[in-house]
């Protein structure tokens, strides 16, 4: 269990102290993938760096299991850092050293004997799928491969926690996908707890179980990933979620589509039940799907549909009532 309690980080500025993080608290359970999302400059990265005390908080406590890291002297802190791996946006590999040397560093730090290191590094490379690159310099690798080396380095000492600082923000979409898969696998197969920060909601959506939303140095909302998308509470979260879910109907279609226009938001069970075909069958309306999108977050569907309804006024009214009872949110865009 990883706990941050009331973390403040302030930096001296020209006009007094500038808060990068204000009163941030969170708990990450063992084996969980926890995300922190927010725009750049929200303080996510600073908060993440307080976990292994690369950044000392101005006040507040960091706990890993039953050890308060913020109280440890430097020497013991180093030992604890071996239980917390870290992956960086720009990989931060030593360009002058081979892939082997980069991955060996945490092992050297942990005092692992040379022959054990020679055995362990290939295992780690196999884990991240780079077995043929052991004696290559990082400069010869693609971005995705460099991040794999970064992940192998972070996992070298079999940490229980992995901190990921925008792990895919410097990568192309394909590498992003494969790195996220790898992180998920690391979480599932090795049981490593992952704390990941990202400004991309897509990253959070694809691997996290729970998520905190950060803006202006504060955590404004925390929830399961699906719940956060399904019921965003804070204005900032709503905006964030809407940007990723909201669909706009092209103006031409909006003008020419006949009948009543509805926007339906589905979640969970209702997304899987055939309510539209039921409405067509039982209520005497025609339903025309104009635009739609369903995604699966944490294995649960969340969908948005824009539909056109045609039928008698009575049928339309009945249909709207019927649907309103069965979907998460119904919005009449235009009365027909």
């Amino acid at each position: 269990m990883l706990r941050l309690k009331d973390i403040h980080v302030e930096f001296p500025g020209k006009t007094g102290a500038v808060y990068a993080v204000r009163a941030a608290s969170l708990e990450v359970a063992d084996g969980e993938v926890y995300g922190i999302v927010g725009t750049s400059g929200a303080g996510k990265s600073t908060l993440l760096r307080t976990v292994n005390l690369l950044q000392r908080p101005t006040s507040g406590e960091v706990w890993l299991d039953d050890v308060e890291l913020t109280r440890l002297p430097e020497r013991e802190l180093r030992a604890v850092r071996r239980r917390i791996g870290m992956v960086f946006q720009h990989f931060n590999l030593a360009a002058s050293r081979t892939v082997h040397d980069n991955i060996a560093l945490p092992l050297l730090a942990a005092g692992v004997p040379e022959d054990k290191i020679r055995q362990r590094v290939p295992e780690l490379l196999a884990l991240v799928g780079l077995s043929d690159k052991e004696f290559v310099k990082p400069g010869k690798l693609s971005g995705g491969q460099k991040q794999r080396v970064g992940i192998a380095r972070a996992l070298a000492t079999e940490p229980s926690v992995l901190l990921c600082d925008e792990p895919t923000s410097a990568l192309d979409p394909e590498s992003t996908e494969s790195i996220l898969q790898l992180l998920s696998e690391v979480n599932r197969r090795l049981g490593v707890t992952i704390l990941v920060i990202s400004h991309e909601l897509a990253v959070i959506k694809s691997i996290c179980h729970r998520v905190a939303v950060m803006t202006d140095g504060e955590i404004v909302e925390e929830n399961g990933v699906f719940e956060l998308f399904a019921h965003p509470v804070h204005d900032f979260t709503k905006e964030l979620v809407n940007r990723s879910l909201e669909l706009e109907l092209p103006e031409r279609v909006r003008q020419s589509a006949p009948g009543t226009l509805l926007r339906l938001v589905y979640r969970g069970e209702s997304a899987e039940a055939p309510i539209l075909s039921q409405a067509v069958r039982e209520l005497g309306v025609h339903i025309n799907i104009l635009h739609g999108h369903i995604e699966y977050i944490d294995g649960r569907p969340l969908g948005v549909l824009i539909v056109g309804l045609e039928g008698s006024t009575a049928a339309l009214t009945r249909t709207v009532v019927f649907l309103r009872e069965r979907v998460a949110r119904l919005e009449v865009l235009r009365h027909g």
């Binding site: 292994n52 690369l54 180093r78 030992a79 604890v80 850092r81 071996r82 917390i84 791996g85 870290m86 960086f88 720009h90 931060n92 590999l93 030593a94 360009a95 002058s96 050293r97 040397d101 560093l105 945490p106 050297l108 730090a109 942990a110 310099k137 400069g139 970064g150 380095r153 972070a154 070298a156 000492t157 901190l163």
Partner: protein, 222 residues
């Protein structure tokens, strides 16, 4: 202008080369032994770095700036008593090496600090995140990452040293540069002076080529 006496010149030149070599070798070894660690210390004691320490950083900086702000000839005379204490002589190449060494320590330390500051902060941070000790970070990350810069800085130091060593001749240090001053300036033997200047150019050029080649080799292997 006197006649160029080749046999005298050759024997003088041979002696002068040997003196230059002695002074350079001693000073460069000292620069490596003391200037390199001082450069690391200046860098590591900077704010936000591994050994952050304002006092040490300040004092180190004062030493380097003091030595570097003095014209070398003045430094040479200032440390004569020290040279006498250390080597037992106030003249000769070994004695001159004391002041040259001090100049080289300061010069190289500053260049080392600059090379180190060009190593990405992220790489150091990543190393810290692994729980590595400061020594391990220096040995496994900082040093190898900065190595091409350290080699280039050493080349620049060696070349400046050749220039300084000419002035060491003023207190009887000897050397190729002094030969040029002695014959060319005091005795108006332009021919000898030209020969020694050519020799100096060749030496400097050779150091530069060797330094560039080594740095490029290290660079290319990444």
């Amino acid at each position: 202008m006197g006649d160029l006496d080749l046999s005298v010149l050759l024997s003088d030149l041979g002696k002068a080369l040997w003196e230059t070599l002695q002074m350079s070798a001693v000073s460069l070894v000292v620069a490596l032994l003391l200037g390199l660690p001082l450069g690391f210390l200046l860098y590591l004691t900077r704010r936000g770095l591994l050994l952050q320490n304002r006092l040490v950083h300040f004092l180190g900086g004062i030493f380097v700036n003091f030595v570097r702000s003095l014209p070398y000839v003045i430094l040479l005379i200032l440390v004569l008593p020290l040279a006498n204490l250390v080597t037992g002589h106030t003249t000769g190449p070994i004695s001159a090496s004391v002041s040259l060494s001090i100049a080289c320590i300061a010069f190289y330390a500053r260049l080392v600090e600059v090379s180190l500051s060009e190593v990405g902060k992220g790489v150091i941070e990543a190393a810290r995140s692994t729980g590595a000790s400061n020594w391990l970070i220096v040995k496994e990350v900082l040093f190898p990452e900065a190595l091409p810069g350290l080699v280039r800085g050493f080349t620049v130091t060696a070349i400046s040293l050749i220039g300084y060593s000419a002035m060491a001749g003023v207190v009887g240090g000897g050397g190729v540069g002094f030969l040029a001053i002695n014959y060319g300036y005091y005795r108006y033997e332009t021919g000898v002076m030209l020969v020694t200047v050519v020799v100096l150019i060749v030496i400097v050029q050779a150091i530069q080529v060797l330094g560039d080649w080594s740095a490029a080799r290290i660079d290319r292997s990444r």
